[in-house]
Symmetry: C2
Subunit: 352 residues, 2 copies
């Protein structure tokens, strides 16, 4: 048996806000974090859903996150907006800076939203999908903590360094992908360790630089990039464009800055925004149709578009709410200061 | 025995110009094409070196390339320069537009150089490495011809869709990578076919969508992307950003446009240029040093930086000239209108 709890999205949002509030985070800062976590749960990205609240509460308890952060937006150049997150969560800085960045994209054609000194706990798609819903294309990059070896090397250096991209579609959810440049997610290795299972070959090295399928050895050693030297090159690009280009830390600095506390990584983020309306003018409609021709040709040969699974999950969640394991629900409630659980939480028992 | 011919870089340039001129290409158009081909040969990128002249001559003979092309530069938006290549070679359009694009990067922080209706025969690094030598970071993308299946699919759709990136280094050659998002180069499969060798598993599918190691089957079927669904997602991004965003063809349109002639692909190209001086101001030096810390950590664990092999080859070529097989040299001379070969060409005989 797996005991589960089903919450409406509103109830899930309330739970987020209670946990965050009781961890000392209030107002807009808490609201945007809750929105991102609910979106993750809604799309059944479980590791970025309500489960992630535990990490956020830990990060807040560590004292590292600035609960009183006031993101400072700077109009750095005609095509660059810079937001100093003031050591708060990235989502808050993003929310404060994105309006000006979109204005710049509309007037210049391209704009960069630079976020500095932020703690990043979320996936990247929640930041770029809404831009594509407004008609923009966007590319987002962040480093993380040194866990991944460069191709040909054996020691942790790069972060899991995600790359996310979004493209607008008139009659459909945006085309969105968001993936780590590491061969797998660190959380996946941790889940295998907990389950006592081996990991697939080709994902990690042990402390002596030898290939390993033992998840505990992999966590002590180094993860590998996806796609060999090509993935390694892309990961290097993420370090450079979302670190030194922005006057912010590379993954090895962020790891050292953490000092073993295990807080969500502190670093910079780069979001590039393209306004197809400026690039294309009157040819916009014709070219959005051309992109649809590409998507049709992909799904026409039974290949999937990235994010399709998320969109299908979203539809289920909007209709029937989100379902999480009872132990996770209890753990989250325990993080609140003894508030009673909502009366309308539905409990379910399902075969494991 | 393999008989070879060694040319100085000047002699290689003269040979390029003679072949191009006798194929009807003159002036600045020919000069920039010759420069790019000599740079490829100098760096021992043999498939993009003097060998590529055969493809250029074929393309010119096909009548598709506009020998009289006059690239038209448009100041499209504060951060966008658009160059209509007028169906000439991409390198010419690039040369005409890059100056204004760099001016825009300096004033805006970021700029896009958009090239339309160009025939692209070269690698992408010759276009972005010189930008990094001038202190810029740059990212370049192009589609090609439909040869590659999306992950989960079985039919050719994407091009080999290269991604190239460059980062400036004060006391070193720039950090540069340039790779196809296909699992291997189409030319590599062709070389295996000629040599009667099988290709590695995981690179291609046959016409029925089954994995194949037979290069002839692979050329008739579909190539695969590198890195599974992640490489496939990146390849889709290249199609979108260097196709519909620019009002230019995706790889399936470019393939259809070619109509079986086998001319080098006609399409658009996107080059994004970042000026770290604008992003960083007074923090520029500190952050270039931070990037060097990353490079030191890569080579410090005996991993290689991309392009190192090219830079080592360049040093050899600058000292001792470039060496090509005698049959290739003869084939190139035969493409000229009977001009005598330079008296100072040194012939060598080497063990095969």
């Amino acid at each position: 048996m797996t005991e589960t709890v089903t919450l409406t999205l509103a109830e899930a949002g309330d739970l987020c806000l209670r946990v965050l509030s009781d961890a000392g985070l209030d107002g807009r800062h808490a609201e945007v974090v809750a929105e991102v976590i609910v979106a993750g749960q809604r799309d059944e990205c479980h590791s970025h859903g309500l489960y992630r609240l535990i990490g956020c509460a830990h990060a807040l308890a560590s004292g590292r996150i600035n609960r009183a952060a006031r993101p400072k937006v700077t109009d750095l150049a005609p095509s660059i907006v810079k937001v100093d997150a003031d050591f708060g969560f990235s989502s808050y800085a993003y929310a404060e800076g994105i309006g000006l960045a979109l204005d710049k994209a509309r007037s210049q054609g391209i704009a960069a939203l630079v976020i500095n000194r932020c703690y990043h706990f979320s996936a990247l798609w929640p930041e770029i999908e809404p831009l594509a819903e407004q008609g923009f294309a966007a590319l987002a990059l962040t480093p993380s903590h040194s866990w991944v070896a460069p191709a040909g090397g054996t020691k942790p250096l790069f972060g899991t360094n995600p790359i996310a991209f979004a493209w607008p579609r008139a009659d459909n959810h945006p085309f969105v992908f968001d993936f780590a440049t590491s061969a797998t997610a660190r959380g996946e290795i941790e889940l295998h360790r907990r389950a006592g299972k081996t990991i697939a070959p080709g994902l990690a090295l042990d402390c002596d630089g030898r290939p390993t399928v033992d998840p505990a050895e992999a966590l002590r050693g180094a993860m590998l990039t996806f796609g060999g030297h090509k993935g390694s090159a892309l990961s290097t690009m993420v370090e450079l464009l979302a670190g030194p280009l922005l006057d912010d830390m590379i993954s090895m600095e962020s790891k050292a800055f953490d000092g073993g506390l295990g807080v969500t990584p502190c670093h910079g983020e780069l979001i590039l925004i393209f306004d197809p309306g400026v690039f294309l003018g009157e040819a916009l409609g014709k070219n959005l149709a051309r992109a649809e021709m590409l998507f049709d040709a992909i799904v026409g040969q039974d290949a999937r578009l990235p994010s399709q699974r998320r969109y299908e999950a979203r539809l289920r969640s909007l209709r029937g709410g989100v379902t999480i394991p009872r132990p996770l629900y209890n753990e989250l409630v325990a993080l609140t200061n003894g508030a009673a659980e909502p009366a309308n939480v539905r409990e379910q028992r399902r075969p494991a």
